[in-house]
Every structure is written in structure tokens, then in C-alpha cells.
């Protein structure tokens, strides 16, 4: 998006957009039309940036709140494994089984 100088003088406001996987330039206009389109695009860009920042913040807040779950899961995993092994269990093909008592 931006203003493009024309060879015979004056400026033209253009927008870039994706068309079939390629960047295509759309010629909007010069003078008042170009000015209005440029202002509109600027406001839209600003709105999108604000929205993205707000959701990023929300997402980070949620990740921070739930962060303790990683530590909790790690402790539970280590202790569960330790308890089962100490109680005489073993893992066979991913499944926990009780060891047969040796006679």
C-alpha cells in the first residue's frame, strides 16, 4: 500500500493484495479518493494491530495462569513411576504390570 508517482505528474494511491498466490497491485486513485482510501487503510491497519495485541495479551495471561500444570504434570509423572516401581511393578510394552513374586 502506498503512493506511486506517475510519469506525467501527480500521485496515485495503490494497494497490494494476494491474487492466486502472487502479489497484485490495485490502483485506487489520486487526489481526494486516494487520500480517503489511504486514511481508511491506515485506520484499518491500526484496528487490526490493536486487536492482535489484545488477543496476544489474553493468550499470554491464560498461558501464565495454566503454566503450573506443566510442573504439576512432571511431578505426578516422576512420583507415579517411582511409586509403581518401588511397589514392585514394571512396564511391559507400555503397560504397567505387577512383578511376579520369585519363589
Amino acid at each position: 500500500m502506498g503512493w506511486e508517482k506517475r510519469e506525467r505528474g501527480g500521485s496515485y494511491y495503490t494497494r497490494s493484495k494476494w491474487v492466486n498466490g502472487r502479489v497484485a497491485r490495485e490502483y485506487v486513485g489520486g487526489g481526494m479518493v486516494g487520500q480517503l482510501a489511504a486514511r481508511w487503510d491506515e485506520l484499518e491497519r491500526h484496528r487490526k494491530e490493536e486487536e492482535a495485541a489484545r488477543w496476544r495479551e489474553e493468550r499470554e495471561r491464560l498461558e501464565r495462569s495454566a503454566g503450573f500444570l506443566h510442573a504439576l504434570a512432571a511431578v505426578a509423572e516422576v512420583l507415579t513411576r517411582a511409586h509403581l516401581l518401588a511397589e514392585g511393578c514394571h512396564r511391559h510394552k507400555g503397560e504397567w504390570r505387577r512383578l511376579r513374586e520369585s519363589t
Partner: protein, 184 residues
């Protein structure tokens, strides 16, 4: 909010337990005995610290879910207390206490995500507060992950109980009721 972490002491104990578990899993009988001793000596301490961490974390999730409504906060605290004692059962072992805390914590997270998503799907929500499609997808992914975690935590507790009781799996029926009192 400050990141909730375990103390260095608890982490060191966990590392030691992990090392001994590896040796015991390889058939080292001496390590198995040592593991039993270490669990007796410091297992409850680690569980206590992790449970404390879980409680603080649950409180943070409650605060987010209740959005400043004192009554909702109070109701969630009571709900979690009820769930905790119901899941841990009478006279639980330290490990059962920890696994019950884990289930309760993940349940709280799934509820919170459900709440956030439901709010997004109401038609009355102003356009300015609506999530973009990509954020909605992100939340949905989180929700699915939390749900998987919840099921795996329940399975973990059931497995520990089954193996501790020594009853073969085919004869064990472990039920953990996660439904709300009104049946919802």
C-alpha cells in the same frame, strides 16, 4: 502473575527419584530398595509442595473464570474442594492426593476454556470483543489438549489404585464422577 515453580530442593529430590527409577526399571534391586526408602523419606514433602503449587494455580484459574464475581469465586472454591475429596477418596495415599490435585487442576482449566469459548459463541457479544478466527482455533486446540490431559490424569489415578490394590485390571471398576451436582 509470577510463574509458579517448584523449589530447587523439590526439583533435586525429583531428579534423584528419576535416577533411581531408571535404575530400578533396569532391574537393579538395590536401587528399588533405595527408591522405596527415598519415597518414604521425602515423597510426602514433594507431594505437599506440588499440592501447594496446584492450589495456588487453581486459584489463579478460578480468578480468571469468575471475572471478579465473589459469588462465582466462592462457588468454584467449594466445587473444587468437593471434587478433591471425592476423587482422592477416604484416607488417600500422598500419591493419590497429588493425582487428585492434578485432575482437579486440569478440570478447572477445561471448564475455563469452555466458558471462554461459550462466551465467544453467544450472538449478543459485541463485534469488538469477538475473537478472530485464528484465536478461536488456538483456544479450540488448547481445549482439546486440556481434555486429553484430563482423561490421562484420570487413567493415571485409576492405574495407580489398581496396581496398589493388586487386583487384576479385568476385575477393577474405578469410577470418578466429574459431573456437576445438577447433572450438567
Amino acid at each position: 502473575m509470577k510463574a509458579l515453580k517448584l523449589s530447587k530442593e523439590a526439583k533435586d529430590k525429583l531428579t534423584k527419584l528419576e535416577e533411581l527409577s531408571d535404575k530400578a526399571a533396569d532391574g537393579d534391586k538395590k536401587a528399588r530398595g533405595e527408591l522405596r526408602r527415598l519415597l518414604r523419606e521425602s515423597g510426602s514433602e514433594v507431594v505437599r509442595e506440588a499440592s501447594e503449587l496446584a492450589r495456588i494455580g487453581q486459584w489463579a484459574l478460578i480468578k480468571t473464570a469468575a471475572r471478579g464475581e465473589a459469588l462465582a469465586e466462592e462457588a468454584l472454591v467449594i466445587r473444587l474442594d468437593m471434587m478433591r475429596s471425592e476423587i482422592a477418596g477416604p484416607d488417600p495415599s500422598p500419591l493419590e492426593v497429588l493425582l487428585a490435585e492434578k485432575i482437579v487442576s486440569v478440570w478447572m482449566l477445561t471448564e475455563l476454556l469452555e466458558l471462554l469459548l461459550s462466551a465467544q459463541l453467544t450472538t449478543e457479544l459485541p463485534k469488538s470483543q469477538r475473537m478472530s478466527h485464528s484465536f478461536l482455533k488456538f483456544y479450540r486446540g488448547w481445549q482439546e489438549q486440556a481434555h486429553r490431559r484430563l482423561l490421562s490424569a484420570i487413567r493415571e489415578l485409576a492405574r495407580v489404585r489398581r496396581l496398589q490394590s493388586g487386583v487384576p485390571s479385568s476385575q477393577t471398576n474405578v469410577q470418578i464422577n466429574l459431573l456437576k451436582p445438577d447433572g450438567g
